[in-house]
Symmetry: C2
Subunit: 264 residues, 2 copies
């Protein structure tokens, strides 16, 4: 970026923490942290060595960009107070599920900076490996956001609010649902006294494979081979587990059906 | 192993190829390859620089161990010819789904060497990262198989045929079904002109996470938070996709239910 941007972080949760650290390391100036709770505000402020406030009226008006990383439910309530007296500044939010148009009637310049990742408190995330999706109300701010995200990661994409809804939905399948498949595997193993760690090489290879092959090309197992003997013996093993039995059947059918879809 | 084992490979597919290369590199002597098809027999024999045959009656009787890596459907047909005149040798198969007892009435010494991995022709697999599950009809052969697998990988476990059935079923969830979640994600993205590669950092992080956290601890997303607004908006997006709509609903319900299970 041509010059050092001045940023205020509204929110002090996982996303604000990871973004704040990354932006500061990239040379941006974090002016202030706002959070409703003293504890998270002071923690993140301490980490970044910057001032914080828990009072909406004390938010500084000096920033170039206000990055809002609040829970979706807190957003609407706080919005009027966040923008008050700063209607010409650039406001961006970080949520996958909220449309950019939510800013439309309130401020002149707005956008979205959506880092698509599964952030857990227990794990440090390398932002350079995160995909960022950006959107803005005018081209100048779009370029600025792309530049800002580009300092954090080489994986920066433009996406409309409509596209971002589908990205979020797709991420639920690729991340949340595949993790649940691991959980069901762990549940079955535990019942037979077998170690889940024995699955880790298989899980690793499954995720590595789709860097080279499309998921459809990478598909293996009884359902894609339509190996009815093996599938029936698996369903028999799940006779006392109605939820798993149904999922096994439905997912196997879907694997078989996806062969008919256009090549992905 | 105390001395170099002499091995005959019955079958020349992916599993036989990966095992044969690994065992030869570990100092085992591959005496011969048998395959019904000239092409695969000669390919693997060329790779390992050993003799091959496509005639069952030409299989040598000099081996310590016969490793049978055939398709399940070919097994029963070929079994009588494979063992003929070698009833006192050690026979092992590599399939997750077949019980060890299939050898019981045919030979005196038998076992299983099951490498749990998703083998694709297009990808080289590092055997040192594969979990091997072994079983044998007597303790001496069990120790020998553990030693042999141990030369290929540090991840060697004993498993009964009953346990192996559940390992195979669990692997279907952890590997085949999680890959299908990637495929559904790719399908949704493609419809909106979005790149599947944008999901790769998320997929990688999702698989890395369960090395440190249990899958249940690692679970994120609207279903585990019971965020009904987001789930409903996702179901609305899937209104024209009945298969995906149903899977989204069923898997989300299962994520919610697993909270009630014993901690995994």
């Amino acid at each position: 970026m041509e010059d050092s941007k001045k940023i205020v972080l509204i929110g002090a949760g996982n996303v604000a923490t990871h973004l704040g650290m990354g932006l500061q390391q990239s040379g941006c100036q974090i002016l202030q942290i706002y959070s409703r709770t003293q504890k998270s505000a002071s923690e993140l402020a301490g980490l970044l060595k910057v001032p914080y406030t828990t009072a909406l009226e004390e938010i500084t008006s000096e920033a170039d960009v206000y990055i809002v990383a609040l829970k979706d439910s807190a957003f609407q309530d706080l919005l009027p107070y966040i923008i008050k007296g700063r209607e010409k500044s650039l406001f961006v939010h970080t949520a996958g599920s909220l449309p950019m148009s939510m800013w439309k009637d309130a401020v002149a310049r707005y956008g979205v900076l959506y880092p698509m990742q599964t952030f857990s408190k227990q794990r440090k995330v390398n932002l350079a490996e995160v995909s960022f999706f950006v959107e803005a109300s005018n081209d100048e701010d779009l370029q600025m956001l792309k530049g800002m995200a580009g300092m954090l990661s080489p994986k920066v994409y433009e996406a409309t609010s409509e596209q971002r809804k589908y990205l979020h939905l797709s991420a639920v399948f690729a991340c949340n649902f595949s993790n649940h498949m691991y959980a069901l595997s762990a549940y079955l193993l535990k019942q037979k006294g077998l170690p889940f760690e024995s699955m880790l090489p298989l899980i690793d290879e499954t995720s590595r494979k789709v860097h080279e092959l499309s998921p459809q090309e990478a598909q293996t197992g009884p359902a894609i081979r339509n190996d009815e003997n093996v599938m029936q013996s698996h369903l028999d093993l799940l006779a006392d587990e109605p939820v798993l039995h149904e999922l096994y059947e439905k997912i196997s059918q879907s694997i078989h059906q996806i062969k008919e879809y256009d090549k992905l």
